[in-house]
Amino acid sequence: MTSAQTIAVPRSSARSAADHAFPAFGALPRRAGIGLKNEHAADLLRDRPPVGFLEIHAENYMGAGGPPHHLLKGLRETYPLSVHGVGLSIGGVEDLDERHLDRLAALIERYAPQSFSEHLAWSTHAGVYFNDLFPIAYDDAALKRVVRHVQQTQERLRRPMLLENPSTYVAYARSDWSETDFLTEIARQTGCGLLLDVNNVMVSCVNHGHDAHAYLDAFPMWAVGEIHLAGYAERQDSLGARLLIDAHGSAVADDVWALFQRATARLGPTPTLIEWDNDVPELPVLLKEARAADTILAASADAPTHTAEALA
């Protein structure tokens, strides 16, 4: 992963906005993209609306053939593609599933996406796949394990990947790293990039009593190759404090837009995905969210903080 490592330089080395996003492999356009949903595929194929890129969940395209591949093949002719895995279980204590790595490699071979990303989480254990992203403890043992798994993935896929910060509802008492330091160290040791999920930042910070602005300030922006935006749902914990759920079933919340603005002020234009996986709205609603993100991305190109940082 030497090519990636050369990019992982300290932020003090000046780079222009155009060099900013972490090159996961082909570079996604620094614009807003949308998650590809079955419900929208036919409309997208027919109208080919201008969105920056499409993102798919890798596991939904691991069948041999049929309509999913037919539609994706057609859409791939028009749109840059991000492949986002949800099932590799990179944070798991068990070895990575070689068969799953093979399936990912085959999918990446088939569609030549501009980016591949996965989560700092685990989802498979003792032969069971849980279809959810479980949290890990942030300690030295976990760091070593995750670094090994990221390296193995990058070697198998023969390209650097992006690793996403998780949304979590509980913490481990034995964690002795902050999440941002933990991610920084993984990126530094493996040369992987990071996927900054701004909604997850809000969800996790509220759920653990952290300051989301401070979290962003501590986030290693030099490694960010993509941003995710989504809607959260709100509950209360047993003491009546807010408990946010990473539900992906509604519009991006105002406070998440504000965090996005703060992040892009530092990052400059960055590939940004609107995720909306449950209660999927009509395509125009999703496209409107993408346009709102594009407006903020465009403004970030000449944001004072960003310019100052780039020139520093």
């Binding site: 596991e59 939904n60 691991m62 069948g63 041999a64 053939g65 049929g66 309509p67 999913p68 591949h69 037919h70 949800v86 099932g87 590799l88 279980s89 798991g92 204590v93 599933d97 799953h100 399936r103 685990w122 989802s123 498979t124 254990h125 003792a126 032969g127 069971v128 796949y129 849980f130 279809n131 959810d132 479980f134 403890a137 043992a141 976990a142 394990r145 509802y169 509980v170 913490a171 481990y172 008492a173 034995r174 759920n207 653990h208 009593g209 952290h210 509950r235 914990d237 047993s238 003491l239 404090a241 408990l243 759920i245």
Partner: protein, 253 residues
């Protein structure tokens, strides 16, 4: 605690509501860890029940949403997915339903689940271009009799003691469920020669004929097997089905 036992505990508790939250978890404000852990438990079960509901809509129609979700929840806890490729999940749902006593009042339910599972399998099966009449015309009748036919990977055959195709069709708005005699046996062919999954009711003996071809029998052998069990089997019609359903993809003379 070693990380292995921590994830062991977490994994176990995620699927067992009677297990408490795993040890070693914390909440910043001292609120209930059990309640927070419940978010994961809920995500796992609800997302998988939703996945089954999307895969088995006619099963759900037949028993109602509330019953279906209760039944699916039991299945998820007993037989959670073993792979992140969720397209495969639910392949054993029909067998589970067969043993699920509260569903015994709808005897056709397991076979309807089998039909929907075949349709899902067909949806994701490998693509192939079906042979057409020209491909067969070049082979003489004699040689055809001794030929083997490779069927499309999407082709699935179901033999049922129930009117499984009619029940399924009624739920697609293709007939009136009230007028279906559920106890009239029907066989089904499911295939996806192009992009659409097609469900066809098979004439007598055709299921045996197609299964024999899938097992590698020649056309002649397959027809003989079908005739043995079903005197009214019509070999010409069965051969015609290979063409009309567009499920033959290669001919080995």
């Amino acid at each position: 605690m070693s990380p292995l036992s921590a994830q062991d505990q977490f994994a176990h508790a995620a699927l067992d509501p009677s297990a408490g939250a795993p040890d070693g978890l914390a909440a910043w404000n001292g609120s209930s860890v059990e309640q927070r852990f419940g978010v994961y438990r809920n995500n796992v079960v609800v997302s998988l029940v939703d996945a089954l509901a999307a895969k088995f809509p006619v099963v759900q129609d037949l028993v109602g949403e509330a019953f279906f979700r209760d039944m699916a929840r039991v299945y998820v806890m007993q037989q959670p997915p073993c792979s992140p490729r969720l397209a495969d999940y639910g392949a054993g749902f029909a067998e589970f339903i067969e043993d699920f006593t509260p569903a015994a009042g709808v005897p056709c339910l397991p076979d309807v689940a089998r039909l929907e599972a075949l349709r899902l399998r067909a949806y994701h099966a490998a693509d192939a271009t079906p042979l057409d009449a020209h491909d067969f015309a070049n082979v003489g009748a004699e040689r055809l009799f001794d030929s083997r036919v490779a069927l499309h990977a999407s082709a699935g055959i179901l033999t049922s003691r129930y009117a499984v195709v009619s029940v399924w069709a009624a739920h697609q708005g293709l007939g009136d469920l009230a007028r279906v005699d559920q106890f009239a046996p029907e066989d089904a062919l499911v295939a996806r020669p192009d992009l659409d999954v097609v469900t066809t009711r098979l004439a007598a003996g055709c299921a045996v004929f197609l299964r024999a071809l899938q097992d590698g029998a020649t056309i002649g052998e397959a027809a003989a097997r079908a005739s043995t069990g079903e005197p009214s089997f019509d070999p010409a019609a069965a051969f015609g089905l290979l063409l009309s359903a567009r499920i033959a993809i290669a001919l080995h003379c």
